[in-house]
Structures are given as structure tokens and as C-alpha cells.
């Protein structure tokens, strides 16, 4: 997030796009609701589903899956046409404006209404609400990024925020809501193929030399492969022979599971480190038992860049160990000693090598954490990014060409399926579905279908249907609800009984490598 969570309370208007906030980030969802109901902030929701926040929205744009970009473009078109753009901000803080302005001109609300089936008047209202408010916050999540044009979607939001001068001020910002507890931290700490910690590039000589000196080794200087490239590569060209997976379950969470299943079989070795024998671990050659979050010390970095302590409450179960300890042990076996006395010592090394974490240590983050960047010991942390300027100097307006999702409904696959989470469960369900009281009360998933479609197909809530895509088929029970639009169905991916990702499309956004989970053409038959 460019801004802080508490900051949302300062916004005059909130745009929630591609985020089922109350289910996935309930505490932020509460804050949005509070801003709306107690403070009167205006709310625009853009989502393919009538999510719970729609109840509170001034305007709801039920966009077909894959059509975020034209809707944002049309909102900007309205803002420009009605003189709501922040000219002073644009002049002072951005570049590329004139060219960009031209690229938005053709996306009139009428044109986009025609593309999406939305009402042009609603698009206008949405544009006005965002354009008139100051500050206005944008909250988004995977509903924006898990598309073939996910990166373009994010850029569009950045354009929108800059257009109205909403970046760099409290209550504004472009705020991705991180779906997993430490996505932010995993990225910050170099869990990416092209960067070391703090986004220091591996192909930057100075950065590499710094790490080489600290670690006393020679380091490779070419970026590695992205996760989705790795899984595609295993089966195809055999360039990946060994895979080590720590705390992930691609056998449920990745797109096109059948492909993953085959690919993992092709490996010379698969090492999995997890707290449960997940679907992925079950295919491994070696499984390391890891300690859960309650059994170890460390830090997580939350979605607002706040580094917070994780504290050991109970001992690791059985012979399990903290993940870092296992790696250190393995490293020793390979002849490289990593002798950390405890997690705090690792954190100190992180702080030493990472400018944005440089001012932090366990004592400083003990109570409420610190938000990076925190470059020195006296720095109070950074609740709002880009207050003085952008990382590159001026914010660049980037024109976006909309190409549309990879798959569209056709005769063979007439429905569009989109995916997401439910509030009681989490991701692959390996934790929540093993929490007795939760699973007892929320034991099964459903495919949500609009009453009109249900009527045409002659199905009712509780019926079982077979759902097939170009990649495979699964069965699920149906829940008839009017939260999705006719022609669109929704499924959550928590339930291994109905592994939705058997169906999803592995085609990715070329920049970010994120698969297009949100748009899959499927056909549905009553069983």
C-alpha cells in the first residue's frame, strides 16, 4: 500500500476494485464500512460480483470479469471531460500527460457501457465521486492483478490516482491489499528472481558486490525464473530438474493443476517444507516438517509495509523446526555455514543489507512495528509513500491499450468463471479446514450461479454440477444467488474436493507473470 490502513478513515471517497474486502481483509473491510457509515465517505465498488461492500456503495459497477481497464479509462474520461482533473498536481508531479490524455479520449462512458453492459450514467457517477473527492483512496486486490493485463490494470489505477492528485497524501493512494500474511515481506526479503532484499537488483553490480561481500561468496548476476515460468518449464524443456518448495501448495493454488501434477512428476527431486502433508508435499521426495507461526519467532511485514513481530507461543510440534533453521541445517550439509543464534540475528543482517529496513531492530518494532522505508535508527517509519516525489522523480502517465481477457465465452464454454475466497476460509484451506470448529460450520464450497442461469439450466441450490474448462473438469454443489451477473459463475479455491484450479488458465500477464485466475471460460452440466 502507498498509504496506511488507518489512513482509509481519512478518505472522502473510496474506490474498491477487484477486492472482496470484507471477506478477504475483514479488518480493512470494517474500516471501509466505518468510513462510509460513520463518516459519510462515498464508496464506489467495481467488481463482477455483488460483494457485501456493495450494500454500502453509492455506485456499484458490476463489471464483466476482465473489463476493469476500460471502466477505469471511462472514469478518467469523465474526470477529464468534466474538469475534475487536478491540473496543478499533474503539472508539478507528473509527466506524459498530454499523450496520455489523448489515449483516454476514445473511452467515453457510452462506449465502455456498450463494451461492458454497464450504465454510462453509473460510470459517470463513479468518475465524479472519485474525481470530486479529495483525498480519495483506491483499494484493490487480485481482482485487478490476476488478469492477462493485470499490470496494465494496476497502471490504470495509478494513472487515475495521479489524475486526481491522490498519490502522496494521507487518505489517498493506490493500495493493493495483500492477500497473504507476508507477501509483502517475502517480496521485500528477496523472494523474487530478479532482486535481493529491498528490491536491490541482482544484475546491479554494486548491489551484487555488497551481498557478495556480506555473504563471502560469488553470486549469479542474471535474474532467475518466475514461479509460473518454472512450473511451465519443468514439463516442457526439462530445464528445471529440482524444486524446493517452502510453505506453498501449488497443487491447489496454481492454475491448470493437471499440468502441475504432471510437471512435478517430471522432476529429479522435489523437496517440500510445510506444516502439513499438503497435496504438493504428498508428491515430494523429501518432506521437512516446519513449525507454524505460533511456534517461532520472527517478523511479518503487513500490507501497509509495517514490520511486526511474530512471537513463539508454543514449542514446535514433534520434531518440526522453524523454516529458517531447517534451511540453515541444510546449508551446513552443503558446506555453507549460516550460524544464526536466533531470528533476531537474522533480522539484524537483513537490516544491515536492506536500506528500507536499515533503521529497524526487534527492540524498535516491539510494540507496534515500523513501516518501511525506515532508513535509520531515528526514523519514525513511513506511513505514506511518495509524499515528496515518486521513486523515479515524476509520476509517469502510461497509456494503456486494452486487449481483453484471454478467454471469452463461446458456444463450447458459455460461462465465465471467476474465483476468490470466502471469509471463513483461507487460501488452500490447509489451515482453516483443519481448524475443527471452522470446518464444521463451513464444511463445503459452492459454485455461485445467478438465478436466471439456474432457471435455464434447471438447477437449484444444493444440486451438483460438473464444471469443465479447456483444461479439465470438476464437480461442485451449486448455490443460486444473485451476487454474480447472469453468465458469470463464482467459485472459491479453498476446497480440495472441488479444486477450482484444475479449470483455471495458466496464461499469465507478461509483465508480472500472474495467471489469469479471474477469467476462465467454462461449461456447466447438471449431474
Amino acid at each position: 500500500m502507498t498509504n496506511s490502513i488507518a489512513d482509509i478513515g481519512e478518505a472522502e471517497a473510496i474506490l474498491v476494485i477487484g477486492s472482496n474486502t470484507t471477506e478477504n481483509h475483514p479488518i480493512i473491510g470494517d474500516l471501509v464500512k466505518r468510513s462510509v457509515t460513520q463518516k459519510g465517505a462515498k464508496l464506489v465498488v467495481i467488481d463482477p460480483r455483488r460483494i457485501p461492500l456493495v450494500e454500502y456503495a453509492n455506485v456499484f459497477l458490476q463489471v464483466p470479469p476482465g473489463y476493469n481497464i476500460p471502466v477505469i479509462l471511462a472514469m478518467m474520461n469523465v474526470i477529464i471531460a468534466e474538469g475534475l482533473a487536478d491540473e496543478a498536481y499533474i503539472a508539478e508531479r507528473t509527466e506524459g500527460w498530454e499523450e496520455f490524455k489523448g489515449s483516454v479520449a476514445e473511452f467515453t462512458p457510452e462506449k465502455v457501457a456498450e463494451m461492458t453492459g454497464l450504465s454510462a450514467e453509473d460510470i459517470r457517477k463513479a468518475g465524479r465521486i472519485y474525481g470530486e473527492a479529495s483525498p480519495a483512496a483506491i483499494l484493490y486486490a487480485m481482482g485487478v492483478t490476476q488478469h492477462g493485463q493485470g499490470t496494465d490494470g494496476v497502471k490504470s489505477l495509478a494513472n487515475l490516482a495521479m489524475l486526481c492528485g491522490n498519490v502522496g497524501m494521507p487518505g489517498g493512494g493506490v493500495n493493493p491489499l495483500r492477500g497473504q500474511n507476508n507477501v509483502q515481506g517475502a517480496c521485500d526479503l528477496g523472494g523474487l528472481p530478479n532482486v535481493f532484499t529491498g528490491y536491490q537488483k541482482v544484475d546491479d553490480d554494486a548491489a551484487r558486490e555488497k551481498f557478495e561481500a556480506a555473504w563471502s561468496v560469488t553470486l549469479p548476476g542474471t535474474p532467475g525464473m518466475k514461479l509460473t515460468e518454472v512450473t511451465q518449464a519443468i514439463g516442457k524443456d526439462g530445464s528445471i530438474k529440482g524444486l524446493f518448495i517452502m510453505g506453498e501448495n501449488p497443487m491447489i493454488s496454481d492454475p491448470d493443476l493437471r499440468h502441475i501434477d504432471h510437471a512435478l512428476d517430471e522432476l529429479d527431486f522435489l523437496i517440500v517444507q510445510d506444516i502439513f502433508l499438503t497435496e504438493t508435499a504428498a508428491k515430494a521426495d523429501i518432506v521437512f516438517p516446519a513449525a507454524s507461526f505460533a511456534e517461532k519467532d520472527g517478523t511479518f511485514t503487513n500490507t501497509e509495509r509495517r514490520v511486526q513481530r511474530v512471537r513463539k507461543g508454543v514449542a514446535p510440534r514433534g520434531d518440526s523446526k522453524a523454516d529458517w533453521q531447517i534451511i540453515c541445517d541444510l546449508s551446513a550439509k552443503l558446506g555453507f555455514k549460516m550460524d544464526y543464534t536466533d531470528a533476531s540475528a537474522i533480522f539484524d543482517e537483513i537490516a544491515q543489507l536492506t536500506p528500507s529496513y536499515h533503521g529497524m531492530d526487534y527492540a524498535r518494532i516491539d510494540s507496534v512495528g515500523l513501516q518501511w522505508p525506515c532508513p535509520d535508527k531515528d526514523h519514525p517509519g513511513t506511513p505514506v509513500l511518495h509524499t515528496a516525489g515518486f521513486a523515479r522523480g515524476k509520476g509517469l502517465f502510461q497509456s494503456i491499450a486494452f486487449t481483453g481477457p484471454f478467454e471469452s465465452p463461446d458456444d463450447q464454454f458459455p460461462f465465465i468463471m471467476t474465483t476468490g475466497r470466502e471469509h471463513a476460509h483461507y487460501h488452500c484451506g490447509s489451515m482453516t479446514r483443519r481448524s475443527k470448529r471452522i470446518d464444521e460450520n463451513y464444511p463445503e464450497g459452492f459454485m455461485e450461479m445467478h438465478p436466471a442461469d439456474a432457471q435455464t439450466m434447471g438447477v437449484k441450490t444444493g444440486d451438483t454440477v460438473e464444471i469443465a474448462s479447456r483444461r479439465g473438469q470438476i464437480t461442485s454443489k451449486v448455490k443460486v444467488v444473485d451476487s454474480t451477473a447472469p453468465g458469470t459463475v463464482f467459485m472459491s479455491f479453498h476446497y480440495s474436493e472441488s479444486p477450482v484450479n484444475v479449470l483455471t488458465n495458466p496464461a499469465t500477464c507478461p509483465t508480472a507473470g500472474i495467471p489469469e485466475f479471474k477469467v476462465t471460460a467454462v461449461n456447466i452440466h447438471k449431474v
Partner: protein
């Protein structure tokens, strides 16, 4: 104690045990308007007994009433009232304990001083009066294990604001719901008594606020704007409308006029299981609210939205059907309608009778006609200078409308001073902000015209003399002070009248010399013909008055119609009778020391900037933000009060 005459009501101390007195000494109404005679009452101002009722039993009934009506929120009232009730129950049944009176006294003090709202606080005072004045009797009952005879009681709750409101809206509760952020629940509650919350939340003359106890501290709770807030909230947030349940449609009832009274009557009739049909002369709903109140105060869109909800409740509205012209009232009475409600407004403009007035002169208007022409989008005459004559809300409306229609200078001519001006002070201020000139202590003598066009108004200066019947000082002409104000238009906004052509031919309908319809009383019955009851309410019965009065009358008529049809009775509903009785007891005391620090001023409504608003008819006032609404609602002291009256 049947010969006891006692009163601690208000500041009165009447006690026949100390000094021989009869019931006359107690200045309280001793019977209800339906003839029910009473033996005593206990309420927020004390206890009074003059007939065959035992004060301790009355206190028991009062405790029962409190226990039943306590909202359950605060400890001293929720539990204290229960403990007090149990003690009184014991005492009255001859099973009292020695410390019961002491316990009652202590808990009553807590109730008075510690309860969250005025319900508990005022009840505490009542119990203490009983303990103080009848402590010996209680001790005697306990010692002798004697029981007391039980009387029959009427129990009612009220609040100063609620009692002042003609429609008796549940104000403290709906304001409290706003305080709790339960806006939709609040609106739902308002809709139980009122079908036009957004309308009334904009243009009500707000009798409630004039009787708000918070005014005794730091200014009244802005009840009107709070109501507006919840009504707007529903629209702005696209919230589903929660309308009251309605019964399946039954008998047809005719309603004359789709103004506030007519809409309200239809709204309640459909809830009671009837099929109301409204006959409306205009092409749209709202009556005088639509064409008598300019859009910048009451947007027509909103009025239409709210009328549409009434229609959704099952009320048929036949537009452009003028009763008297298109359909005769006679036909409605003799047709298949089981009852008729006359709820039409005062649609005729009136003139002063000064020299030179004529509807044929270009630039001369009667106020009501001018507002209607503007509202209906007619091409109204516009020139340089417009003189508006009058000091009421209609005059202000005409002046501000004239400004918006293009007059460069608008002057209001009023014969008394600003203090006497009957128009709402807020609107006078708005007009002044818009640079409308107030020529006070000035009265027109003559409308001057040339070639059929107004060219000026001759006026005379006035001074204030002795007070007249209304208590306002009478304006007296200053001889020789006449002068002419050049103008190309003059609007006479000095009042409206009822168009009695609507009821032509119905000899049985009695009218007053002010051309209003006479009804029997609280039952709203004007006449019965061929077994069809004709009821009336709103401006046609009261003369041009208030929107909230119309809404209230419509509701009352609906219930009376139901009683008339189902029971064949024209007795007024008990509720109205009790409401009236409570009004007589005066729940609001302007002089009361409320015991709150003066620390929160009323929230102020926002206005669009003058330059932006005077060029168009768009709404001027901008509603509260959520935070303002919640903060304003938090100022409410929740002045519920309880009353029990012993039947004789």
C-alpha cells in the same frame, strides 16, 4: 382514601389532609375528551389524586408502566424500576416489608439522578413524591398487612417533542437510532407515522424543536435535519426501502387531493387493508407542497420519489382529475367508495383589495399563483424589479423564486417589523443573504400600471401601535409618508384560500367563514351521507397551515375511516384522545433547569454559496454529513416521560 384531594403536580401543593380543599384546587384536566372521567394522574411532574384512587396503588401502576417501558439500556432504570415495582406490588398486596419504603426511596433517588434518560429521571421524582407524602400510609399498610384496592389505569408515554408534533412521531427513539448509526432503522421508524420523511425533513415548521428540552440548555436538537439526513441516506446509498407491511386490498376509499394529507391518508389506509384512490387536479403528486413550495427548498424529484413509495403501498392516484370539475364530489359519496377523505389544499391566491390590483395586468400576481406557475414550468413574466407584499413564508418563497427567475431587484414589503414577521427566521436570513431587500413597516396603497403593465407600487410607511388580538403590535399608517417604488412586477403574497368549488352541491358539509370545512372533532368526521362517511383534514379543514398537520390529519382520518367501516363508530381513537390529554398536561416547560452543561451547540445545515444558488431552482441546503448527524443526534436528552391516569 376516597376523600383525598392531593397534588404535587408542578409547583402546586394541594393536600386535603392539611387544608380543606376540593378537586377544583387541582388545575389539571380531570377527564378525557371522550368523556372518560379520571380519579388522578401520576406523571413527570408529580402525582395528583382527586377521586377514588389510592396514591400508593397509582405509584404501583406507575412502576409497572416504567418497568414495561424502560428501554433496557441503563442500570438504574432497567433493574431499579423492577426492584421498585416488586416493592410496590408487595406493599399493595399487604405483603410489604419493613425496609421497602426505604429501598424505594433510595432507588428512586438513583433513578432521578443517575438514569440515562428523562424517563427514569422523571419517574424517580414521582416515586419520591409518593414516599415523601404518603410514607406514613405505606408504613401503615406494611404494619397492618393491609392491601389496597386496585384501580384501572391508562398508561402512556410521551416526550415534549413528540407531544408537540402534530403527527406524534417517535422522535426520541428515531434520533437515538441515528446516534447509534442505525440510519435505516431510524427511517423505518419514521415511516411508521409519516410517509414523507425527506419532504418533512426539509420544510417542516418543526413544532418539535420549539418544545425541545435541549433548547433550555444550548439550543434545540435539529430534529428536522436529522430526519432529512436519514431520508437522504436511503437514496444516496441506494438502500432498499423498508415500507410498512400492508394488508391485502379491500374496500375502496376516495381521497380528494394528493397533497400531504391525501397521500398520508392513502398510505395508512392501504396498511389497514383498503384500496384508496386519490383524485388529484394536478399532473403530479404533492399538492401545495409541489406547487406552493419552490424546488430550491423542496426538490420535486424527492417529493415524487416519496409519493411513488405511497403509490407502491397500493394507493392509486388519478392525476389531472379535478374534483368539482372532472368528477363531482357527489359522485364519490354516492358511488362505490365506502368513505371519502377531503384532503385538498388552499390553492387560491388572495389579494389585499388595494387599488389597482388585477389579474389582467402584466406583472401582477397573487403569491400562490406565481409559485404554481413557476413550479409548473410556465413562462412567467420577468423584469427588473419585483415587489413582493407579505411577511410569511409564501412571501419569502415568492421573492426568492422571483430572484431565480431573473428579476434583478426583489424587495419584500411588510407592514410590521422583522420581529413580527411570521416567516421562519432561517428563511428570512436566507433571503437577506441573497440580497433581497426588506422594506419593513411599509404597506402598499396602490398598484400603479400603465398600458396593462405594472410600473410601480405606491406604499405608505407604518409604525407600530398597541398590541392586537394576536399579541403583535398593530401597524398604523404614517400619514403623508406615501411614496412610489418603481417596479415592473408585484406579487401579493398575503395568504391563500380554500377553493370551495370542490365541494359545491354538498349542502350537508358545513363550512366556516374562513371557507374551511367543519369537522366534529378528533374523529375528523365532516358528515355522513348514504352511509358513506366523509372525513376531512389538512388545509381544507384548518386553513393554510402546515405540512406536518396535513400528514397527521391524513393518518388520523385513515384510522377513523377504518373504525367507521369496521365498527360503525365515529368515536375518536383512544390514542388521539390521550395525545390531546397529554398536550393539555404540557410536557414541555420552557423554564425548566435541565441540569446539563451548555457545551454543544446545534449543528448547522450547510448552504450552497449565494452566487451559485440564485441563478437556478436547485436545492439550496446541503444535508448533514454522517458525523454531523451522529453528533447532533447525540445531543438529544431522550426526554421520554410516563403518565398513568386512574379511571374514576
Amino acid at each position: 382514601m376516597s376523600d383525598l384531594v392531593f397534588s404535587s403536580w408542578g409547583d402546586a401543593t394541594v393536600d386535603s389532609r392539611k387544608q380543606a380543599v376540593d378537586a377544583q384546587a387541582i388545575e389539571l384536566p380531570k377527564e378525557l375528551s371522550n368523556g372518560t372521567s379520571l380519579a388522578g394522574i401520576m406523571g413527570w411532574d408529580g402525582i395528583a389524586v382527586w377521586g377514588d384512587s389510592h396514591p400508593v396503588d397509582m405509584a404501583r401502576a406507575y412502576a409497572r408502566g416504567l418497568s414495561d417501558n424502560s428501554c433496557g439500556q441503563c442500570i438504574p432504570c432497567r433493574i431499579g424500576s423492577h426492584v421498585i415495582l416488586e416493592a410496590f406490588e408487595r406493599i399493595c398486596s399487604g405483603a410489604g416489608r419493613e425496609n421497602d419504603a426505604g429501598e424505594i426511596k433510595r432507588l428512586s433517588e438513583r433513578l432521578r439522578d443517575q438514569a440515562m434518560c428523562d424517563l427514569g429521571q422523571t419517574c424517580g421524582k414521582g416515586f419520591l413524591d409518593v414516599i415523601e407524602n404518603f410514607g406514613k400510609e405505606i408504613d401503615g399498610l406494611v404494619a397492618d398487612k393491609k392491601s389496597v384496592p386496585r384501580s384501572e389505569y391508562i398508561t402512556a408515554t410521551t416526550a415534549p417533542c413528540k407531544s408537540a408534533c402534530p403527527a406524534h412521531l417517535e422522535i426520541p427513539t428515531y434520533v437515538e437510532l441515528i446516534k447509534k448509526g442505525r440510519f435505516e432503522d431510524s427511517l423505518e421508524l419514521i415511516r411508521r407515522d409519516n410517509c414523507l420523511p425527506g419532504t418533512i425533513g426539509r420544510v417542516c415548521v418543526r413544532p418539535c424543536e420549539f418544545d425541545c428540552r435541549r433548547s433550555n440548555v444550548d439550543g434545540p436538537v435539529q430534529i428536522k435535519f436529522l430526519k432529512r439526513f436519514v431520508a437522504d441516506y436511503e437514496i444516496e446509498r441506494n438502500r432498499p426501502t423498508r415500507l410498512p407491511e400492508k394488508e391485502p386490498e379491500g374496500e375502496k376509499i376516495a381521497i380528494v387531493g394528493a397533497g400531504p394529507a391525501g397521500l398520508s391518508c392513502g398510505y395508512f389506509l392501504s396498511q389497514l387493508g383498503y384500496a384508496p384512490v386519490i383524485f388529484e387536479a394536478l399532473g403530479e403528486p404533492g399538492g401545495m407542497a409541489a406547487v406552493g413550495i419552490p424546488d430550491y427548498r423542496l426538490p420535486r424529484e424527492l417529493l415524487r420519489y416519496e409519493a411513488e413509495l405511497v403509490r407502491k403501498m397500493g394507493v392509486e392516484i388519478r392525476y389531472e382529475t379535478d374534483v368539482g370539475t372532472d368528477v363531482k364530489l357527489e359522485e364519490l359519496i354516492s358511488n362505490d367508495y365506502k368513505a371519502v377523505f377531503l384532503g385538498f389544499g388552499a390553492r387560491l391566491g388572495t389579494s389585499m383589495g388595494v387599488e389597482g390590483e388585477s389579474d389582467d395586468i402584466v406583472g401582477f400576481f397573487k403569491g400562490a399563483d406565481y409559485l404554481r406557475d413557476v413550479a409548473l414550468g410556465k413562462d412567467v413574466f420577468t423584469g427588473e424589479t419585483c415587489i413582493v407584499v407579505g411577511g410569511g413564508n409564501v412571501a419569502i418563497d415568492c421573492a426568492r423564486s422571483a430572484l431565480r427567475k431573473g428579476f434583478k431587484n426583489v424587495k419584500i414589503v411588510y407592514r410590521r417589523s422583522l420581529i413580527e414577521m411570521p416567516a421562519d427566521a432561517v428563511e428570512v436570513q436566507d433571503a437577506e443573504d441573497e440580497k433581497i431587500e426588506m422594506l419593513i413597516l411599509t404597506n402598499p396603497n396602490k398598484i400603479i400600471s400603465e398600458n396593462g403593465k405594472v410600473t410601480g407600487v405606491e406604499v405608505v410607511k407604518m409604525e407600530l401601535g398597541e398590541p392586537d388580538d394576536s399579541g403583535r403590535r398593530r401597524p398604523v399608517e404614517m400619514k403623508g409618508s406615501e411614496y412610489v417604488i418603481p417596479a415592473d412586477a408585484c406579487i401579493m403574497a398575503i395568504g391563500q384560500a380554500i377553493d370551495l368549488d370542490l365541494i359545491e352541491g354538498i349542502e350537508e358539509l358545513e363550512t366556516t367563514r374562513w371557507k374551511t370545512i367543519v369537522i366534529q372533532g378528533l374523529n375528523r368526521l365532516a358528515m355522513v351521507k348514504n352511509g358513506v362517511g366523509v372525513f376531512a383534514g389538512g388545509d381544507c379543514e384548518t386553513g393554510p397551515l402546515t405540512l406536518i398537520g396535513g400528514l397527521a390529519a391524513g393518518k388520523e382520518a385513515a384510522y377513523q375511516i377504518d373504525r367507521f367501516i369496521k365498527e360503525g363508530s365515529s368515536d375518536p381513537m383512544d390514542e388521539w384522545v390521550i395525545n390531546k390529554f397529554i398536550e393539555e398536561l404540557k410536557p414541555y416547560d420552557k423554564a425548566e433547569d435541565v441540569g446539563q452543561p451548555c457545551s454543544t451547540e446545534p449543528a448547522k445545515i450547510h448552504h450552497k454559496p449565494v452566487a451559485e444558488r440564485v441563478t437556478n431552482m436547485e436545492e439550496v441546503e446541503v444535508g448533514f454529513t454522517h458525523e454531523e448527524a451522529i453528533a447532533e443526534a447525540s445531543r438529544c436528552l431522550r426526554c421520554y416521560r410516563l403518565m398513568v391516569a386512574a379511571k374514576a
